[in-house]
Symmetry: C2
DNA sequence: TGATGATTGTTCTACTATATAACAATTATG
DNA sequence: CATAATTGTTATATAGTAGAACAATCATCA
């Protein structure tokens, strides 16, 4: 009754590899899923040479033009020290512009350039297509909403 | 009817920061949730100085004693070159032992040491507690099962 | 059998992402 | 005003990951 695999006659037992001790863990599957989704995202944006962090920064700047660097960085969970190089890259590619606001000359206000505005329209389309693909894999928008809700519950503190 | 925020009298518009352009993306929320869960995992294992990759390797070795390094590494999605240092660490702490099997002297068969067996019992308990905490946040085992199913759908190729 | 190719573990190197400390310029606060 | 806090920046350190190369070993097959 407990014997699931009767020993082969006279050969080595050779039981199958058990990975369920890790694949059954929420955090482990979460990580594997995140890696898989990111790899596909990166593949779709490879022609544009745009990393996930680049896209998320551009999207936030588009939605919040004039925001300070630290506001965008904090919203993305990126340390301001590490955000400098990211914005340098986007500025070097002519997608983002830094302007010093008169009311706080410590900060840099971020704006999309004209080229940035044109480019993010393309990027948003690529992202929307990929999102639709993810929703398909999940089984529809209802499943997507449910996943987003469940993931949101894991974000609460403590 | 469309005016959600009537302009304050004579002051700057100052609309609120819009983060939904990224928080509404499956991949983005997936990553944030994964980071949050891992941070909590790391915090709970801080006293044991054990990283997620360390635990997952120990768990797989416990469930599959005598497996080759490359088998454990592949199951975890870790390149064999990078897996060397990880096993070196666990071996240096006396938790894992490398043995050369007679039938294939290229490979190293991995086993838990006696100390490793004792330690992983502790680690498994910490992990089980944390898993129960995650299940609580999700709203029960049914919600957990649903999340695991949804995440599994994101893992399929293409 | 012997020649050739594949596998395994290992080292080295490089690149990305992230974390911390320090600093100057500026702003906020008592 | 004096002091503290904020912002951007640079420099540095640490993980995690990826690729190339190598020796030892095993598999294949003509």
């Amino acid at each position: 009754m407990n014997e699931q695999n009767p020993a082969p006659p006279g050969k080595a037992p050779r039981r199958r590899f058990r990975a369920d001790v890790v694949t059954g863990i929420v955090g482990y599957r979460l990580r594997r899923a995140q890696i898989a989704v990111f790899q596909q995202f990166i593949a779709r944006f490879a022609a544009h040479d745009l990393r996930p962090a680049d896209y998320s920064a551009l999207a936030l700047i588009e939605a919040n033009p004039g925001s300070k660097q630290i506001e965008i960085a904090r919203a993305l969970g990126i340390k301001r020290a590490n955000f400098v190089a990211l914005i340098n890259g986007l500025e070097g590619r002519g997608l983002v512009e830094r302007r010093q606001p008169a009311d706080d000359r410590r900060s840099q206000a971020l704006y999309l350039t004209q080229r940035g505005i044109e480019q993010i329209a393309v990027f948003n389309k690529v992202q929307a297509d990929f999102e639709a693909h993810c929703i398909d894999k999940l089984g529809g928008v209802a499943a997507r909403d449910q996943l987003m809700d469940l993931l949101g519950r894991l974000l609460i503190e403590e």
